[in-house]
């Protein structure tokens, strides 16, 4: 079978059950993700998003099915797993589950040194990432003295310094205030500019609708809908199954069309600004 390099991630019929559990966490999941895409993963708690992410970098091995990264199936040997983890990085939902060092500088240097890079180059990479993610003001503070938002920045820096091809963010804005949420969103934009494929789990349908190239709806370990934001967010039944609301902008657009306040043929807007343009 010829593997298509257009797809950076291919998932075929993957299933996974946690030991001691009856229900499957992942149940015959099929998915393809294009290189450089911005993909939002949405679904209720327990729909399998986090488990799926852990399968993508080899931390969890599926009971059935196959996962291909860059056209090659994941090789569960030591070297194979190292290769996968160089390409696929995960920023965990809870920074305290990721930051193991009290020193921000030492923390960020961990990943890149594990790649076998020499110390001098590693030092430059670490300092570059610190500057890029605006960590400089608090780079000398201990990890336990950082705010939630600052910890999140360090967690992202941890992975970014390793220059992955795919970056997975598990609910990056969870427990962040609006200012830090915006900061994270800016960082995510820069990732895409670098050509990194970004997979993000989020509950924020409005943000996903505005930002993503593709939305994947998950429910009970399966993908129930995958497509462009407009396709997915117009599919009412899929949204309902996944316990989601329609994005506010889209809802408003529909109502306004019903009331005849805007013409029928207009292209549905992605953001509030676009909607205002139409009016």
């Amino acid at each position: 079978m010829i593997r298509d390099k257009e797809w950076v991630i291919e998932v075929y019929d993957v299933s996974y059950t946690y030991d001691g559990n009856e229900e499957k966490a992942l149940d015959g999941l099929n998915l393809k993700i294009r290189r450089g895409a911005k993909v939002a993963f949405m679904g209720g708690n327990g729909s399998g998003k986090s488990t799926f992410f852990l399968c993508l970098n080899g931390i969890r091995k599926p009971d059935a099915g196959e996962i291909c990264i860059d056209g090659n199936p994941i090789n569960y040997t030591r070297k194979g797993l190292l290769d996968v983890r160089k390409k696929v990085g995960i920023v965990f939902q809870e920074p305290d589950d990721q930051l193991f060092s009290a020193s921000v500088y030492e923390e960020i240097s961990f990943g890149i040194l594990n790649l076998g890079i020499d110390e001098k180059t590693a030092q430059k990479e670490v300092e570059d990432v610190i500057e890029e993610l605006e960590i400089t003001p608090f780079q000398d503070r201990p990890a336990h003295a950082l705010s939630g938002g600052q910890k999140k920045q360090v967690a992202i820096a941890d992975i970014l310094v390793m220059h992955p091809e795919v970056m997975i963010l598990d609910e990056p804005a969870a427990a962040l205030d609006p200012r830090h949420t915006r900061k994270v969103q800016e960082i995510v934009e820069r990732l895409t500019e670098k050509g990194i494929t970004v997979l993000m789990a989020t509950h924020d349908i409005d943000y996903a609708y505005a930002w993503a190239d593709e939305i994947v709806l998950m429910h009970e370990g399966k993908v129930i809908r995958q497509g462009t934001p407009l396709e997915v967010c117009s599919d009412r039944s899929a949204l309902e199954t996944a316990n989601l609301e329609m994005p506010a902008v889209l809802k408003l657009h529909e109502r306004l069309k019903e009331k005849g306040m805007i013409p029928e043929e207009t292209v549905p807007p992605r953001t509030v600004d676009e909607l205002v343009e139409i009016l």
Binding site: Y18, D19, G20, N21, G58, I59, R60, K61, A64, E66, P73, N75, Y76, T77, R78, G80, L81, F100
Partner: protein, 291 residues
């Protein structure tokens, strides 16, 4: 004695008693600089064989499964945090438990010796409890002698089918008492009394720390019971997953799915099963993980 002097004397004694009892409710750390240099070195040397044995045992566990590293580290942090928490006390003063009795029961004396000295270093530097010169003496009393007694009594009570709660209480209580006795003897050896030598000095130290250490040992015993019984009732899988730390060498280790917390299998561990798993399931698996 004239009335005024009597009242003054009583007041003086009461004040002195309060002053002695209230602040000195902490566990038996010998403070920095308190022991003569020779004794500091001597106690350090006595600790070495135990520490080396403990370290080798931990190294083996980490080699068996790298995941054990964070597990062991968390256990150390757990001991530190437990010993830094204020415990309920009858006098209302500030008291802390040593945590080493609990540690010995949960993790075994080998792990507790190494984790204990690390905890003591952190307590000296971060909390100013104990010291770096007295590290040897404190390690011997709190991280080696006490836990060995706790563990021994715990096992003995299990073998003799003594009531679970009583067994755990005795283990923690007697471990604490033994630590307190060892510390008093360490002090007495360094500072023998002019009127009675080491023995009299030991009696003095035992007596002077007794008002705080005895109630503390009782409370620590009770708390250890509550915690251990609580864990055994509600957290069996978690206990199983650290049970390996306690296992004596040669004993059959718990099987894989019991070992990993909450039964989460990971790819690296599954690689060990590679030879048994059919190739079709995971495609081209080449070499099993070698350590």
């Amino acid at each position: 004695m004239p009335k005024k002097k009597k009242i003054l004397l009583r007041a003086y004694i009461a004040f002195a008693a309060l002053f002695v009892i209230a602040p000195a409710s902490n566990a038996m750390h010998i403070m920095e600089g308190y022991l003569p240099a020779g004794y500091c070195v001597a106690w350090g040397v006595i600790c070495l064989p135990f520490l080396i044995a403990g370290f080798i045992s931990l190294k083996k566990k980490v080699k068996e499964n790298r995941r054990n590293l964070t597990l062991i580290a968390m256990s150390g942090a757990f001991i530190f945090v437990i010993s830094s928490l204020k415990i309920p006390s009858v006098t209302g003063s500030c008291s802390h438990m040593t945590g080493t009795g609990l540690g010995a029961i949960l993790f075994g004396p080998a792990a507790v010796s190494v984790l204990g000295i690390i905890v003591l270093i952190f307590q000296a530097v971060l909390l100013a409890h104990g010291g770096l010169t007295t590290l040897g003496a404190n390690t011997f009393s709190m991280a080696i002698a006490g836990p060995l007694v706790s563990f021994g009594i715990y096992k003995l009570c299990r073998a003799a089918k003594v009531n679970r709660r009583v067994g755990v209480f005795l283990a923690a209580f007697l471990g604490d008492i033994f630590t307190y006795c060892v510390t008093s003897i360490q002090l007495a050896l360094a500072y023998p009394s002019e009127a009675g030598g080491v023995a009299a000095s030991a009696v003095k130290f035992l007596g002077v720390f007794a008002p705080t250490q005895l109630p503390l040992a009782v409370i620590e015993g009770i708390l250890t019971v509550v915690i251990v019984i609580g864990l055994e009732t509600y957290a069996k899988p978690e206990l199983k997953s650290i049970g390996f730390l306690r296992d004596t060498p040669g004993k059959q280790p718990p099987c894989l799915h019991e070992r990993i917390f909450a039964g989460q299998r990971t790819a690296n561990d599954s690689c060990r099963e590679l030879s048994e798993v059919s190739r079709d399931r995971i495609g081209e698996a080449k070499h099993p993980l070698s350590d």
